[in-house]
Every structure is written in structure tokens, then in C-alpha cells.
Amino acid sequence: MATLELSGLTKRFGGLLVVDSLDLTVAEGEIVSLIGPNGAGKTTVFNLISGVFAPDEGDILLDGSSIVGLPRHEIARRGVARTFQTLRVFLNMTVAENVIAAEYASGKVGAVRSFFGTPAARAEAARMRAVAEERLRFFGERLIGYRLDQPAYSLSYANRRRLEIARAMATGAGLLLLDEPAAGMNPAETQEITRLIGELRDDAGYTILVIEHDMHVVEGISDRVVALDHGVKIAEGSFEDVAADPAVIEAYLGTGGAATK
């Protein structure tokens, strides 16, 4: 369970203003979509929230307390988990290990007890594996069974996207940042991911901020849509409102002259 509040968030890369005093709130249990043309600053917003970059100005509140300046693993520990637009699964680890890695914070057994293989260490390892299996079961039969012990590089593109989501869930976070979860998926898989994102909220209780280019997905899942262009919020509201907003249409298609040709 989590609420997120960005206020006046600003980020410059050199002289380039990438995110320009952005205000955005995501209420508990809400699904908010972040849309905009390439280069609009969507992924940078994710990078600011998850601590890859520190914002130049503004504040990020998670459940009312600021997470600006915290180390990345601490931000994750407080409840922000993410996936990556360019997939970053741990390729040379097994499917199960990928998910177990994300359960690190839930563990209590230290390296010494692990070295000696005490009963507590064994119990914890077994528990973590069971949790991993449960997270992966969210995607039906695709990633369990003998697949658990297959290296992640053997997975198809779509399955790697699923694995990333399972990994994010395993961190125990309440807020999921999904960066283009449907990218590279075929229509059937896209439909499935749309349903799954809905279930993530309805059944599993996650708060979700999602970047997505596929407007069918955006339409299918969003409680609210926020459109960015050149780091500035140009529209916010229901999918229908934002889709009809002249500023959004202009950002995607350009104005007059060039478009009519």
C-alpha cells in the first residue's frame, strides 16, 4: 500500500531541462499512466523516483515522507519497485534466483549463519524459494516447474518482461513503476499483460505508475492518464479527456502546416 507525491520535480542534464517542475500524485490503489512522445522525460521521472538520479529541485514523498537522496536499495526497501524499459533481468542467473535476489530485504539470516548452513539459513532459503514460486505463479504456468531452474537468458522476450514484474513484486514494495510493460509483445500477450496489470491492483493491492506507448493498454488499465512533453505536464485526467486534449494531439502529431502537408 502506498501513495506517491511528486512536487515541483525538476531535472537538468547539462543545459537541457528534462523534467520541468512536475507535480504528480498517485493515490493508494490507483493506476496512473504516464504517456508522451519519445524524449518527453517519462523514464527520467522513473529514474528520479527510484533514485537513479537525484532531482535538481522538488521533492518526492512516499507515504508522506521524502525519499529524495536515499540510496537506491533503501528506496526499494521503503516500497518502490520498478521494471526497466530496456530489460535488465539477471541473465546468467536462474528464473528462481532472479526473484529470490529481489527478496533480499525480507531475509534476516546473515552471511555467517549462511556459511555454516544452520537450520535457520536453510529454512530461510526454502521460504524465499517458495515465495519466488508464488510470485511467478502469477503468470500462470509460464515461469514455474522446471523453468524455475533455467537461466534467464533462455527466456523469450515476453517472459523476461513477466520475470521483471515478478521480481519487482518480490521486493515487497507497494508501489510498482512499470516502464513499458507491453513493449515488444504480440497482441495476445498485450491483452494478457493488460489484464494482469488490472489484477496487480485489484487482487494483489499494488499502486501502479506505468509508462506505456500502446494506447489500448493505457485505455484498458488507467484510472488516470498524465501526458508529458519536453518534461512538462501538458494534460491530466481520464483517458478520454487526455486523448482528446489538443495539446496532447499536438505533441504527438505536430501542428497544422507540417501535418497537413
Partner: protein, 469 residues
Amino acid sequence: MPEIGTDRWVAEFESRRVRREGPWGRLVDWTSRHWLGLFVVAAVVYPFVIGGDFGIRVGVNALLLAMLAIGLNVVVGYTGLLDLGYVAYYGLGAYGYAFLASEQFGIHLPTLLVVGVVALAVFGIGLVLGQPARRLVGDYLAILTLFFLQVFVELALNLDRLDLPFVDGPVSITGGPNGIAGVDPMEIFGFRFGQVRDYYFLLLVLVVFLIVGVTNLARSRTGIGWRAIREDTLAAEHMTIPSGRLKVLAYAFGAAVAAVSGTVFAAVQLGVFPQNFTVALLIVVYAALVLGGEGSVPGALVGALIIAMVPELLRTPAGARLLFYGGLAVAALTLVKPRRRLLVVVPGIVATGLAVRSLVTALWPDLVDVEAAGMVDRWVVRFVPSADVVVSVLFIVTIAVVLGIVAVRRRGAKDALVVVGVYLLVLVWENRLVEEPSITRQLLFGALLVVLMVARPHGLLGRPRVEVV
């Protein structure tokens, strides 16, 4: 709408699964499950089979190298920290033992206490010197840690004439270039280590203990965290893994393992000297790890055993011959695929030998040494000593053919080259190399390493790493 995650692809994936089959596959499976037991049995039997102090000394060196390689595997293989200062911690362990158990300062503490204190102290030093690993990666960390090693060597060499306040005259801490001789032998629970064999078994216990511990660690959240950091540090941090803390822990763990093996080394050698801990040893440890396969504990063990023992095996002509023909057989087995083509290749080699011998005997009878009458000599041409030049030329041709085998892809051509190459190798070997063991030893060992790394670039027991797909 269909159920999530149940489509045709899912329904069929179990049937596409491939398992190891056949007697060979079962053997591989069985060995991979029982490798530690096999190792222990072989290692316990080894001193009784080998007899003699020298053989056991070789075993001691192999086990020391195994400990170092397994420790380094945690730092480099799991966590991906390129630590070129590793050997310094081996040296710190050895000097630590010498400080606390010799006449150097007149301190003679009980062995277990010394080993415990040294391990903890070096672990602490590792925690401090490991701090740069939080920020530095790859070659930057490598250069810095190499600097640590150089500092250690310089200190060991020069801390022998130290002027301290309130003390008269220069004080020797490390003994300088002469090191510290007369280190106490170990004594545990009243058992005094007198022979090399005692240390051999102590090291065997330590190695097994370390293997079990590291294997346990690898399955824990710590071990999985280490490997996640090597795979993708940023993603690992986003998955709640405190990368800085875990990197430093891996670094210090490796340092402590090296220090413990260093204490045993000092006791076996009954002394410590600066030249024991140079970059040369670092290269040997890395060679063992890379040969065995980074990231694999049995790999590090096997790599260390090969690197430490094979050159010793090559010392005697009989041992060298065994290794040469064994290596040739293994090379032929791996190069010729499918295996049934061996049915053509092996008779081809035999026939080539007989044909060449009759041809050369008929054409240039002066060149052939007819006195040689070993089994191989009736097959391969033995040249008279005056035909040295011919052998030298053939040696170069052999190298070209062997390189050709690696380069050629077409199967027929490859098999033909294997036939010629094996014959030429035997010819050169029997005529020249067996006569000059000192050169052969280096050459053969180098060739063995090159062939192994070409055949398995990811190491003998390592898994090929996939970076981008």
C-alpha cells in the same frame, strides 16, 4: 478469454525439455552430484599412493592454491570485483602467523588462536581496503588493488630497519628481503605438525570446510545478491540489495580466506619471505580460477589442481608421455564430431604413419634411425640425430597444422587435418621433445592451457556467460 498463462506454448514446453541420457549422460550427472565425495576419496588416497615427501609437497601446494582460488572465486567469480591485490592478503596471513608464532618478537601463541586472530584481523583490513570497491568497477578497481599488492611487497621488503620513538636502534619487523625464518610448526589440541603429510590433511580439511561453506553461501541471499551485483549492479540495487555493503563483504571474505591459507603456508615453509607474494603468484591464482571457470567452486578446485600438479607430472619423461598421449586422445575426442567419425580418423592416423614410414625409409634410408625399436618407433619415423633440421622444420609445420585445425570449419577438411596433425605431433614429440624435458615441460603445459581455453573459453566447469541476447 483464455486463462492467463495457459496456451499452446505452455502446454508443450515440458515436452521440449532435454535431459542428459545414455550411460555417458548418467555418468556426468552422477559425477556432478558427487564431485566433492570423489575429490575427498581421491585426496585421502593420494599421499599413500604417491609415497615420498615430494609428491605430498606438491599436494600441499595444490591444496593451498585451491583455497586461494576458491576464495578469489567469491570476489571475482561471484561478485565480479577484479581484485589484483588478492595475494597481499595471503602474505598478510603468512606474516601474521610469523609475527605471532616465531622468535621474531619472541611470541609463541597457540596455533588456533593465531589463525583466528589473523583471519579476523585480515577480514577487518579487507573491510577497510574494500571500501573503494563500493564506487570503483572493472579496471579502475583492478589498478587500485594492484597498488595495494605493491605496497604490501614494499613494506615487507623495507620494514627491517625501522627507527621507532623510545626504542634504541633500528627495529626489524618483517625481516626485509631475508624474511622471517624459524617459524613455529602448527600445534592443534596437543598434536604437533611434524611432517608435510600432517599439513596436507589439515589443508584437505580446510578446503572441504571452505567448499561446503561457500556452496552454502552461494545459495543464500548473500550469495545470490553477490551474483546479482555482478550481473547488473543498478538493477540489483533497485531490488533492495545493498550493493556497497555486499561488495565489501565479498572482498573481505576473500581476504580472510587468503589469510588463513597464508598461515598454513608460513607453517609448512617454516618461514615467510617477500618473494613468496608477488604478482607471479597472483597470475597463477587467476590462471587456476579462469581455467576452472569463474563462478564455479568445483571449477576453482579443478583449475587449482591442474595448475599445481600438471607441471610436476611433466618433470619425468614417463609422466610427460602419459600426459601427452592422454591429451592427444582427449583432443581427438573433442575435435572429431560426431564421434563415429573416429572410426575413420583413428585408422587414418595409423595408416598415415605406416605409409609415411615406408615412404621415407624407401626414399631416404640414411635419415632413418633403424635402431629404435619401441612400439611407437615401428610406426612413426625416427630420424637419426644428424637429421635435426628436418625435425625442426616439421615442428613448425605441425604448429601450422594445429592452428589450421582450430581455424577450419568444414568437417572433412578438419578431420583430414586432425589425421595429419596427430601424426606430426607424435613424430615431433618422439623425435625431439621427449629428449629435452625442460623445454617440453613449459611448451606442453602452455599448449595444454591454450587448447583448454580454446575448447572451453568459459573454463572447464564454468558456464558460458551470456551478456546480451
